[in-house]
Every structure is written in structure tokens, then in C-alpha cells.
């Protein structure tokens, strides 16, 4: 939706400002063109800089191993091959890691959306209770105390809960996210209390109001958080690193790290496996672009 602002409005501001007098319009247009060319060039130069590492990476994945290190380097693969991809699929057990990651990401996402919606609603609509306000500060504090900071104690908690090397260990600790709770809290605060009062008068129960009226209303937030959460879990490295020990339970990121960490990096395999690991997110991005790049929602959650 934000993209609509990018419509070509070259001439739009000029006539509006200078009325119908063509004599005044022309110099202004010329001046605009003088700004448009350098600024657009600069923006696209930056865009090329941003795109290049990825494009180079992508093209390299289709080069055979011998061509990867052969000087002079060529931009396009001379003899394109999918050998790396086949190797990743057969020898690297890509499908196993892929399905492990998918299972974790999907389960956590569903649970995160529910937990965050419920908690965000409670924080938004029951602010009369003092403990609700205290708990809000607690959630705020979790952004200060991320898992990275307390790796070893977290590992010991996971171990003592019997969650080491289990899928539960990957899913359960990631359900609580401050960002998710804030997104829903922000949204529910913007919903007028009158709706709740009306439902109460009609005899609806509190939890029923939430599930039947409020949750369906928050669909855009649900979508956005679901996409965010899926991306977080898909790309997460630190939880799988401390929770999983068994190679059969590795997620993609850990498995990729094990290729990079080897003495001799198998570049054709690494490039192909990395490219394949990005695909699900690219697909989600293409389908749900308007939820992902909606800066209004993103900005709201950080306020």
C-alpha cells in the first residue's frame, strides 16, 4: 500500500503550484529534471551496490566448482550447472534440515501469534489492574535481556526442563516476543472501549469477547506478526545452537554454519544450500509483500 506513493508524479506538483500559467511552469520543470537525474542516479547506484552481493552469490551458485575459482572471473556462469543443488539435496541432507526448520518455524509462529494477541489485549484493555502495568514493564525489560546475553544460564534452564535436544526446546522459549506483544497492544489500544462495553451489555464473556470480536479484528496484525515470526525463527541461529546437539535435529542455519566452519569449505555445496535456504522467505515475501513492507505497522510497534 505504501508503494502507491511511488507513482510517477513528475508533473503533478508543478501545475498545482503555479496555476495555469505555462510561462512559470517551464523553468520549474527544468529545475525538477535537474534534480531528478542526479538523485535517481544516486539512488540506483546505491541499489546496485545493495543488490550486487546477492546477485553475485546467486550466479556463483550455478557455476561448477572448477569455474568458481578460475581467473579471470566471469559475471555469468559459462557452463551453468545445478550440480551444487543436487549435492546439497543428496549428500547434505538438505530436506531433513529444511523440514526440521519448517516444523519449528510454523509451530512457533502459530503459538506466538496466539500468545502475543492474548497478552497484548490484556495489556491494552485491563490497564486498571496494577499488575498488568507491572507486567508491561517486565515485557519491556525482556528487550534489554535477550537470550544472547545469558547463554549459559539459559542452556541450564533448558536442560533442567528436559528440553535439551527436543523440538519443544526450540519452540517453547521463542513464543514470548516483546515485539509481538507490543504490536497487538498498540493495535488494541486503538480499538474503542465502546465495542467491548456493548458486548458486555449483550452478555458476552470476557474471553469470548476477545476470541469472537477482537481477534478477528486484528487480522492485519496477525498477518504481519506471523510473517515476522516465521522470518525470525527461520533465520534464527542462537536458540538452535544452544538447544540442539544431535545432527539429525539441526536446523538449516546450524547446518549451514557447520559447512562454513569446516577446515576446507565446500563452496559449491555451501552456495547452493544457502540459496535454497532463502527460497521459502522469498516466496512469502512475494506473496505477502504488503504486510511485510507496511511501514505504518512497523513504526507503530516500536513506539
Amino acid at each position: 500500500m505504501s508503494i502507491t506513493t511511488a507513482k510517477p508524479d513528475t508533473t503533478a506538483p508543478a501545475p498545482r503550484r503555479s496555476g495555469a500559467k505555462p510561462a512559470r511552469r517551464r523553468p520549474r520543470q527544468a529545475r525538477e529534471l535537474g534534480s531528478v537525474i542526479p538523485m535517481s542516479t544516486f539512488m540506483w547506484l546505491l541499489a546496485v551496490l545493495y543488490a550486487f552481493p546477492l546477485v553475485w552469490f546467486l550466479l556463483s551458485a550455478f557455476k561448477p566448482g572448477s569455474e568458481l575459482f578460475q581467473y579471470p572471473l566471469t559475471f555469468l556462469p559459462e557452463s551453468p550447472t545445478v550440480g551444487g543443488f543436487e549435492k546439497a539435496w543428496d549428500r547434505f541432507d538438505f530436506f531433513l534440515y529444511f523440514s526440521n526448520t519448517l516444523a519449528v518455524a510454523v509451530t512457533t509462529t502459530v503459538l506466538t501469534v496466539f500468545a502475543s494477541a492474548m497478552c497484548g489485549y490484556a495489556l491494552a484493555k485491563y490497564q486498571d489492574s496494577r499488575w498488568i502495568r507491572v507486567f508491561f514493564v517486565c515485557i519491556l525489560a525482556t528487550t534489554m535481556l535477550p537470550t544472547e546475553v545469558i547463554l549459559s544460564p539459559t542452556f541450564i534452564v533448558i536442560r533442567d526442563l528436559g528440553m535439551y535436544d527436543t523440538m519443544a526446546g526450540l519452540v517453547v522459549p521463542s513464543i514470548l516476543t516483546a515485539t509481538g506483544v507490543f504490536m497487538f497492544r498498540q493495535f488494541f489500544i486503538s480499538i474503542p472501549d465502546d465495542i467491548i462495553e456493548a458486548a458486555r451489555i449483550d452478555g458476552a464473556r470476557e474471553v469470548g469477547i476477545f476470541f469472537r470480536i477482537m481477534l478477528p479484528m486484528s487480522r492485519p496484525i496477525i498477518m504481519t506478526l506471523a510473517i515476522f515470526s516465521f522470518q525470525w525463527r527461520w533465520n534464527d541461529y542462537i536458540w538452535p545452537l544452544i538447544v540442539v546437539g544431535d545432527e539429525r535435529k539441526f536446523t538449516l542455519q546450524i547446518a549451514l554454519r557447520s559447512i562454513v566452519g569446516a577446515e576446507n569449505i565446500d563452496w559449491p555445496l555451501l552456495l547452493a544450500a544457502s540459496v535454497m535456504s532463502i527460497l521459502p522467505l522469498v516466496l512469502i515475501f512475494i506473496v505477502f509483500q504488503k504486510y511485510v513492507m507496511n511501514e505504518d505497522i512497523n513504526a507503530g510497534l516500536k513506539d
Binding site: S2, I3, A6, D9, E32, S35, V36, M43, W44, A47, Y50, A51, P53, W56, Y71, P72, L73, A115, C119, A122, Y126, D128, S129, I132, F135, C138, I139, M144, P146, V149, I150, L151, S152, P153, V157, L176, R205, E206, V207, F210, Q231, W234, N235, Y237, I238, I242, L256, R257, V260, G261, L271, I278, L281, F285, Q289, V292, M293, E295, N298, A299
Partner: protein, 309 residues
Amino acid sequence: MTATAIDTERLAGPRQRPGRARRVQYRFAPLALAGLNIVLFGLFFVWPGSLGLIYSFTDYTGIGTFEFIGLDNYEQLFGDPTFYRALTRTLLFAALSVPLMYVVSLSIAALLVSNYTRGKAAAKIIFFFPWLISPIVAGVIWRWMFGESFGFVNYVVSELGADPLAWQTDPDLALMVVVMAGTWGGTAFNMLIFIAALKNVPRAYYEAAEIDGANSWQRFRHITLPSIAPTSFLVILLSSLGAMKEFAMVQALNGGGPGTSNTFIIQYIYETGFQRADVGYASAVSMILLAILLTIALLQMWVNRRRAA
């Protein structure tokens, strides 16, 4: 169960004054709704957090029993050169990457809302794309670009007639690559936040300034920057915290190398806690890092408040 409790309260409701009734009415519903997150908060933040604090005063190794050794860990820490090296390297990384991240994301956001640029929709997708890439894959991508004997960058450098640069074996050049890769990966989100902020600056300000003859730099300096100050604060805060926690990308990019020269503080905690199994010592480092993160946050909030006042 929850619902019946509420119903009894509701029956008693009309007898009380309306203002008071609302305050005591719904005690169980919020508990039921927030309950899951309260439990998770206790299990995965309070518990490990307090364990960390306790362990930092012990010689715990992860198994068996442990003894309280007072402030020994902290004393040892302050005399430990590897800890200082990790800490100062992380601070240096933050000092380099946060300003770069700020300038780059703000410039890109400004270009993406400008009336003078063309092809904004496509460019926005390109700038946003790195958000999809995991830190590990981002590390791999930049390692591939900056490989010393095979990377594209060194190929270009030698084609231009210069000597290939030691992107992997020179500690400072390796840090530069980490800064670039971090900025590349972190721009997308900050850019979105800035775009929202820039769009909210009232157009009338710019028009008034234009009539008064302000040039575009003056308009940016005196209208845009003050108007988006809260957003700038947010971006700088989040980026500094993020920079202090940098870990996964470096793991794939150069593993903290060459040697241990670019070992950041989280990697140091990880290696002490897991590879050397020195949980007590690692917990002490965690507590120091926590104190640093809190200081950064409070300091920036203080500056922000003073500026606003």
C-alpha cells in the same frame, strides 16, 4: 472457570458505585489471557536471569556442585586481557557501524520518499531484500565477496592494478567487512522506520521554508532532522544494542578471526560458557554486558529527554 468467576462479580456489580466496580471487576480474564506469557516470562527470562546472577559468584562448570567464590570471577575478569580485547573490539564495531547504519538508512529512506527520484517501488524492494537473508547466509555472501584469493572484490582490485587486500587475514580489514555486512543486513528495517517518520513530517513546513528561500540542505537540517528526532533516537538505540549483540553473522563471515582478533563479546561468552564450560565466569561476563546494555539504553534515553526538554 474464569468466566463463572466473572459472572458472579458482574451480578454483584450494580450495588457498587460504577467507578469502583470497574476497577475490581475483571481479575481473571486478564490473568487467563496473559497467563501463558507470564509463565514463559518466568521460565525463560527471570529464571535464567537470576541463575546468571547467582552463577556469576560461583565456580560452576555446568555439572556437579558449585561453590560460592564471591567476587573472584569479576576480579579475574577485570584483569583478563582477552575479555578487554573482546569488549573493546565490540565497542569499536558499534562505534563504526551505528553511525554508518544511521546515515545509510536515513539517506535511502529520504531517497525513497523524495519527489525527485524515479523507480522508487523497485528500488525499495531491492533495499528491503537483505531483510530476508539470515545472518548466517549474509555472512556467507560477504565471505564469498571478500575471499582473499577468490573473492570478487580482490579480483576487481587486482584488475585495477593494485595488490589484493587481506580481507581475511588483516584484523582491521576483516572488521571493515563485518561493518559493511552488518549495515547491508540491517538497513532494511531501519529504512522502513525512517520512511514512516519522513512521511509524517507535515508538507506545509517544507513549503513555508521553500517560500522563505531555504535550500534543500537547510530544509533537511532544520525541518526534517528535528521532526524525525524520536525516530532517530529509536534507530540509534536499537542499532547500538544490536551491534553489541552481533554474533551469528560474524560466525559465518570469519568466525571472529583472523585468530581471535575480531571475537565479539557474545562469542566470548559463548566460548567461555560452552567450549571451556566455565559457566560461572561466562555468567559474570553476561552480567557485565547486561550492565553495558542498560547503560547505553539509559544514557540515550537521558540524552533524548534532555534534548526534548
